[in-house]
Amino acid sequence: MKKILCSVLALVMALALFTACRPNIIEEQPTDFEVNIDIDRNTTATLRILVPTTDGGMEEGYINALIPGFKELFPNVTIELDRRAISDERYMETISSAIASGEAPDLFYTNTVYYYYLVAENCIVSLEPYYTAEEQRYNETGGQEGLNLEADYYSEFFSMSEYDGNRYVVPRSMDSVVTYYNTQMLADAGINAETDERLQSTEENPFTWNDLVSLCNDVSDYLLSADGQQKYPTGYALQADFDWEAVFNAVMVSYGSQAFDENGNVAINSDETLAMANMLRDLYEDDGNHRIVRSNTSGASFANGRVAFHFSSSGPASMALNEGIKNNFNALPFPLIQDESAGLTNPAIGCGFAGWGISSLCDETTRDIAWQFLKYMISYDGQQALINAGLATPSIRIDLAEGKTWSSGYNNINLDAWLQWSQYKVSSQFFTTQEPSATFDIYSALQNFMRNLVDPGLTGVSTPRSVEMCIALCEEDLREAIS
């Protein structure tokens, strides 16, 4: 009996070793391959699309909105949703588990921070062959077919996923940080949003960081007055979300501060970072009551109406769903940080994308079908379907974005806030010189840095650390992240 048992165990061990020899690994993908953009309408295929389960069904809703139109083009293609938990903490876990288990989707959901991991780990294919083929077709047909990103789209958002000269992701919309303001609170504070010079944004008189700080000081004075205390006992001036990369990256870029230098060495400890950190800490300490700036990771947008200013990329339709601020908001672009006397000449506005890349595990037919789906997503009909499904950020198409159809019903809101100063828009690139597995640790280090500066309560310290100490801690965290 013992012999039998031993034999069974030995067999299992041998099998285990045999099957464990080589897990599912994605080899480096060629960036130049044959593509077919003339897919037979009757092609039968199944397309699995990754959608997050952690966004309240938002992305799933968008994909569902695209399916009917796409099915008209390819009636025999079945779309399956691959629902997975996606967050900054769990993105790598989700993707790597999907690949290791051999259950990878055909289209990976990604954004400005996540894409680098997908590209560096060979998870998604370069879309250059498709862009080239589509552009060629566009030229051949005089614009009747194919794509011309430069002519019809905000091409800079396509370039945000560029790596080694190749673009990997098709963005579904244009995400740009704007400054929302609470018209009711400003009126209560005696600030007339219609006439106050600081609340204007024109070529000649841009909305600047100094304007914002000045307004915040006025709001803070009001909040500390008897009236303010009565009406907004826990109110504050600015919900900045400085721990959001679209915000802190823009501020860092404006100040010339960088996490890593071009050689990939930690470079956070610099005069530029010190100047930026001092500015942010001043915001926190300015009135001694910490009523000016607050970071927020709770996701409570606009702190339910308890703040005067709020950085966000949500469209007005989304903001209007917030009962605390409904009917009492307007928008300005992200404030330009520029001050020639202080050497600040490179203002930046945080922006990014959410979109999908094609899995490198797809067979050729599925890959071509996946491209057709992405192409439909950015077509006029596809973008219109997304807008109808509630996508309230500007369309990636110039015609729809400038036509403001993405926010019809909110024409009293300054919709130019999303489109103005496109030359200053920057996406986060601070992790691309490092190993992809370090991406989220780097992100976390910078988030903690910002929280330490502007919201020490969140990090649990009773006495805020000095600015120099915050920088030193961040430097240590960054070194650890890339070690």
């Binding site: 009996m1 069974v8 165990l9 299992v12 061990m13 099998l15 285990a16 070793l17 464990a20 020899c21 080589r22 897990p23 690994i25 994605i26 080899e27 480096e28 903490e89 769990r90 790598m92 876990e93 993707i95 790597s96 588990s97 690949i99 290791a100 780990e121 060979n122 998870c123 826990t234 597995s437 370090a438 989220f440 640790d441 976390s444 903690n448 309560g457 969140l458 990090t459 649990g460 310290v461 009773s462 650890e480 070690s483």
Partner: protein, 321 residues
């Protein structure tokens, strides 16, 4: 047919021919086929869900495997890195040992004392038994979230404990948010919440102690304290030993901070980063699966060594009555 020699009634030996007996193996298989079928699902489960992953993890521990694009043989590279190249490890080992040194005595003694209290014959004691056990029915993730609220440190909206401290004029504590020893101590404090689970085991052990021993001791004039030290405690030692080993293993594997401590459970300044969490973070947060497997095997060896040591020194355990 087989030929065997047999003794005749007169004491002579004679060759006799007997029908062939079924082989020993076949007979045993035939006789035990029902038993085999009964254990088949379990054996299958153990092979697929335990044995296979164990072997696979050992195999992966010799590779630089990131679950997506890299699977390179590194020999003992991962093991060398654990002992010489990972700057987290001193902190991980310190935190884990500190937690074990605090948590094991506190939970063992705490649950034992609680069990003694719940073992007395008082009216309504069963209600208390249920009440103390009740927290164990709550999923760990829920209790983790509840405790993160109870111990929340925030100037504007402090948690229950810090509100109590404030009311008493005491300074607030950072609990899990602390970047020092306080963070680990907070976890030990939190673990008191589930003392009721261990209490049930002690109570079962107490019920197994023969009543005659107490009766005889009473007749001999032994008081309550004397009876405890002479009967209850010695008779509990097998369960003390069992709980000691299981607590030790569970404590070394602890990764519960994931649900409530900041920085993905590692705490500020890695104050709550322990071995179990380190394995999780390496495997899934950093997708260093090969390295995580090596860490797991180091933990297995460490647990094995300590368990062996405990077994070698178990002369204090009283197994018979």
């Amino acid at each position: 047919m087989v030929t065997e020699t047999a003794k005749t009634g007169c004491g002579e030996t004679a060759a006799v021919t007997l029908p062939r007996r079924p082989s020993n193996l076949k007979k045993r298989i035939k006789g035990s086929i029902t038993g085999w079928l009964f254990i088949l699902p379990t054996v299958f489960g153990i092979c697929v869900f335990t044995l296979y992953p164990i072997i696979q993890s050992l195999y992966y521990s010799f590779f630089d495997y990131n679950m997506t694009s890299r699977f390179d043989f590194v020999g003992f590279g991962n093991y060398i890195r654990i002992f010489s190249g990972d700057s987290d490890m001193p902190k991980v080992v310190t935190n884990t040992l500190l937690f074990a040194l605090l948590n094991i005595p506190v939970t063992l003694c705490g649950s034992y004392l609680l069990a003694l209290f719940l073992n007395v014959n008082l009216k309504g004691i069963k209600v208390f038994r249920v009440l103390y056990y009740l927290p164990c029915t709550m999923p760990a993730i829920v209790s983790g979230i509840v405790w993160s609220y109870i111990m929340r440190y925030n100037v504007e909206t402090p948690g229950l404990f810090n509100q109590m401290f404030s009311a008493m004029g005491l300074p607030m504590s950072r609990f899990f948010y602390a970047d020092n020893f306080t963070a680990v101590a907070s976890i030990v404090l939190m673990n008191l919440w589930s003392l009721g689970g261990g209490t049930i085991i002690w109570l079962a052990q107490f019920k197994n102690i023969p009543k005659q021993l107490y009766e005889a001791a009473e007749i001999d004039g032994a008081g309550t304290v004397h009876r405890f030290f002479a009967i209850t405690l010695p008779m509990s030692t097998p369960m003390v030993f069992y709980n000691l080993i299981t607590n030790f293993i569970v404590t070394l594997q602890f990764n519960g901070t994931l649900t409530f401590a900041p920085n993905t459970g590692a705490g500020n300044n890695n104050a709550t980063l322990m071995f179990g969490l380190k394995i999780y973070l390496e495997a899934f947060r950093r997708t260093n699966m090969g390295y995580a497997c090596a860490l797991a095997w180091v933990l297995v060896v460490a647990v094995g060594l300590v368990t062996a040591l405990l077994f070698k020194t178990n002369k204090w355990v009283q197994y018979d009555n």
